[in-house]
Amino acid sequence: MRVVIDRVSKTYADRRGQAIEALRDVSLTVESEEFVALVGPSGCGKSTLLNVVAGLTRPSAGAVELEGDFAPGRSATAMVFQESALFPWRTVQANVEFGLEELGVAPAERVRRAREHLALTGLAGFETRYPHQLSGGMRQRVGIARALAVDPAVLLMDEPFSALDAQTRRLLQEELLTIRERTRKTIVYVTHTIQEAVWLADRVVVLSRRPGRVLATVPIPLGRPRTEAQLVEPGFVGAVERLWSLIKAEALGALREAPA
């Protein structure tokens, strides 16, 4: 499934009615089965762009189109959120079934598909737990299982691991890469961490400070499957250095801004 983002702009009105231009004229095509990472300083519109792709925000101008095969019983896109965004009143199992319910999948099939994806994300045995009974890392896995269960053509991930500690994050990154090898999803992945972007993606897109524009697109010259050895390869280090220098000035500026 290809994602074609065509000259998308988005201007919000804040509480006082003032216009906040979040995105300006962003164009970007994500190829089928491609893993694209979006980086950029805080508040630059990364989440906004992802929401536009998910159909949760209507762009002020421009459009997003999907190109590929569509099958019934599967979703066009599915999102994994930063704070996992699990429904606290649903058990792990019921959380994963949520999307399937909305797709109208029959109960028996729902249970089967949910279990399958819980197994895939290493959550077998945790079906009856409530989210608050899980650690942050486990919760994030449930979020991923819930998104994968609807078999989306495009998987959208908004800083899925940023609330986790470094070690857990590293473990989940590895799992995500494994899952990707198996499911071959098109993935758009938002992150603050340059290392993470380089380590995971085929291509890293850098957005500027607000209003977000595409500042640069950096292809990652690393083979797959990724191995720990690649972390010290010049390709990795070079990409990280290049991205850091692109972002540093933007980040310094963003730091001094009050939160909106």
Binding site: E83, A85, F87, P88, W89, F98, G99, E102
Partner: protein, 263 residues
């Protein structure tokens, strides 16, 4: 000059010891003090009946069965009133929480009618609902309706926008959203409203049973007041506070069962 000292201990300020015995002693102590004050005879029993007299009077009323009738009668009214009030309040609260149109209509109306003292509405209630059970239940219903509606509204409005986006991102429609996100989000606030409403319902019991009652705890209080039987009045008051404590405890248990996802 170098010295070696233990780190300053700041834990004292943070410590909070338990005092389980005091908890019991406090209530008992109050009762004993009260009894002693009445025993001195300096305060006429009309002013402050002794706790033993109150207990004795309560036991007698229990034996004669009048207390049981009163409690059951009042409970029926309270349960019905709270039930209807909660149903109405939650429905209206959900409606104004969800639909901006309903909010625009409902919010000002609620703000304007909420502060009307319920006793002032007694004549209208008598006119419309008569002097039977309906009007008594209605007083309680009205008292419960407002905290329930206001709390449900606040609960719906405080639903985590992230969860709403998450549900919508999976294709949830309006109805799904209400049932699967907004309602469960509002549950804790709904229970808070229920606790408030249940408390209010007991306060309003006296007002409700002003309308042609011949049984009920509110009636007991009014009757004792009219006849200046302060001992019986105290029985009624004690009964109301016991009921209040029990109701609260019951609701807390229900809440735990209904909201298993919080700790």
């Amino acid at each position: 000059m170098s010295v070696r000292v233990p780190v300053p201990d700041r834990t004292r300020v943070l410590e909070r010891r338990e005092h389980p015995v005091v908890r019991v002693l406090a209530l008992a102590g109050l009762l004993v003090l009260w009894e002693l004050v009445t025993r001195t005879g300096r305060v006429p029993s009309l002013f402050l009946p002794s706790p033993l007299d109150v207990i004795q009077s309560g036991v007698e009323m229990l034996r004669s069965g009048e207390l049981v009738t009163d409690v059951l009668t009042s409970l029926r009214r309270v349960v019905l009133g709270v039930g209807l009030g909660a149903l109405g309040g939650v429905s209206v609260g959900l409606a104004i929480g969800i639909s901006r149109l309903a909010e625009a209509v409902g919010n000002p109306l609620i703000a304007a009618t909420f502060p009307i003292p319920k006793i002032a509405l007694l004549p209208l209630l008598i006119l419309w609902l008569g002097i039977g059970e309906a009007s008594k239940v209605a007083v309680i219903t009205l008292g419960v309706f407002f905290p329930m509606a206001i709390n449900t509204y606040a609960g719906v409005r405080s639903a985590d926008p992230l969860l709403i986006r998450a549900a919508v991102s999976f294709g949830a429609g309006r109805w799904s959203l209400i049932r699967k996100v907004l309602l469960p989000s509002a549950l804790p606030m709904i229970f808070a409203g229920l606790k408030l409403g249940a408390g209010t319902s007991l306060l309003l019991l006296v007002a409700a049973e002003m309308i042609a009652a011949n049984a009920g705890i509110g009636f007991l209080v009014l009757h004792a007041q009219n006849l200046m039987e302060t001992t019986k009045l105290m029985v009624g008051i004690v009964l109301l506070s016991v009921l209040g404590v029990l109701t609260h405890w019951l609701l807390v248990r229900c809440e735990r069962a209904a909201i298993p996802w919080t700790t």
